[in-house]
Symmetry: C2
Subunit: 285 residues, 2 copies
């Protein structure tokens, strides 16, 4: 694992799962962390958990920082407050953690000269100041999406930090990133939510009750992401709408294929499709 040598002042805006975990690991490396929470109550909880050496709701503490992570929800990244923008030192390297990159870069390339679009992919099921934990980024992809105007030195700073956390550094274009996460990260949320709905819209009470009693690990796994944070799901759909709609269209075609084979009792073809699925999944997992 790469270890950053010099210790620096790092600001982290938002101390939820991603922000809190960044704070814990970077603090352990010897850096001084300036953590920002939105509410006073969260600041108290974050102090109890010792997420950072300095914790405040006051954005002014960021003036001490040479690197700042905006560990905020997508909606806040797309609509940053003036107070946040003004609190960012002009020389600081600023990065985010949002799961869409093109819309965020369109906003931030105009705001900050040393902004790096980041997407550390390390789970999103837990939230709040209690969610942060050590080694969250270990062996997880950390995607960055530099554009023409990106400051190369700033990119190197983020690269060093992400490698020091044990993350897998992946550099790609924002457009390609957003298409890919549309397929493998955002689409699953909606096909999984639809599965939950298709059972709950069942009107026959005895059937619904039985289904609830019989639901086993297969149902549990397939519905996990669909039963996740509703705000996050909406934010994904809103920020990555066209890629998500394209992914849903592709998905419906795939499902139509399978349905057609079942309708036509074409078991040979259905078996082929399921074999392809099995082999394909191995390449992803």
């Amino acid at each position: 694992m790469f270890q950053a040598k010099a210790t620096i002042n790092i600001g982290i805006v938002g101390l939820g799962l991603i922000g809190g975990s960044l704070a814990l690991d970077l603090q352990k490396q010897g850096h001084t962390i300036y953590g920002i929470t939105h509410r006073e109550e969260s600041a108290v909880a974050a102090k109890k958990k010792k997420l950072a050496q300095v914790i405040s709701t006051d954005l002014q503490i960021l003036k001490n920082c040479s690197v700042i992570f905006l560990a905020l929800p997508i909606t806040k990244l797309l609509n940053p407050t003036t107070a946040l923008i003004n609190a960012l030192p002009k020389n600081a390297v600023v990065s985010d953690v949002g799961s869409v990159k093109q819309p965020i870069l369109e906003v931030w390339e105009k705001i900050h000269p040393k902004f790096i679009g980041s997407h550390p992919m390390a789970g999103t099921n837990q939230a709040g100041v209690d969610a942060g934990k050590h080694n969250l980024f270990l062996n997880k992809p950390w995607v960055v999406t530099p554009i023409d105007s990106t400051d190369n030195a700033a990119l190197e700073v983020i690269k060093k930090i992400s490698l020091s956390l044990g993350a897998k550094w992946i550099q790609t274009e924002p457009k390609l990133h957003d298409k890919a996460v549309g397929l493998i990260s955002h689409l699953p949320v909606f096909i999984s939510a639809a599965l939950i709905h298709s059972t709950s819209r069942e009107k026959e009470y005895s059937l619904l009750e039985l289904a609830q009693n019989l639901a086993s690990s297969g149902f549990k796994d397939t519905t996990r992401v669909g039963g996740g944070n509703p705000e996050l799901g909406v934010a994904m759909a809103e920020a990555n709408r066209s890629n998500l709609l394209a992914a849903i269209r592709a998905y419906k075609n795939s499902l139509d294929y399978l349905e057609q084979h079942i309708k036509e009792k074409d078991w040979t073809q259905l078996k082929n499709e399921l074999e392809t699925a099995k082999h394909t999944r191995d390449k992803f997992i």
Copy 2:
């Protein structure tokens, strides 16, 4: 946990995950297990694993048994060989483990007077003589689907055994069972397989490669059952075709709803739907 008092001779036809696990637990309770494998090679492996006291490919050993479990794939349960039928003692209680019940009962109520339709729901991802393990059925549903012609004493025998394994005894109608598993067990396989296909049909190589690198726990969980055993998937579809097709229709309606909200940018309604999904899932899990 209920413990069966008298030790008996129990035949188990098929020593895969379900059959092998039954054999291990029932042997531990003191019963004498007569295990049947299809191939000589599997018999050798099963003997090495000590899955049963008597292991053979010769169905004649079943003549010693008062209870026999047919731990066979659905297709073999729907098309039993004459050799199997003739090897079952007329007085023995016979049960199966198939994940559909109505078609199996239609076949078996004509073959054996003491047949009990069972579906112990204890996972299906592993297979073969190495898959069996202790306590597989602990706290898992064991569904039985008695019909008018069912022998009540035989039903009680299976109930005692299933409770002795720590399973949750659930008694229902075959038709209702098949509808419920169509929704919560068979449907997930196909919606999950379609997700794998929708990513793999992607023609842009760089996108496919990136998607494969970024696929995380959400994608992994949502695609698990779709990347499972193809033979089992086809057998489910074949044996539970009309319920599965109805479930797919219901599913497509649910997905259309979500897609519509995204198309119309109706984020309020989308959030409502995702909140409902979250709450509904809690009732199932």
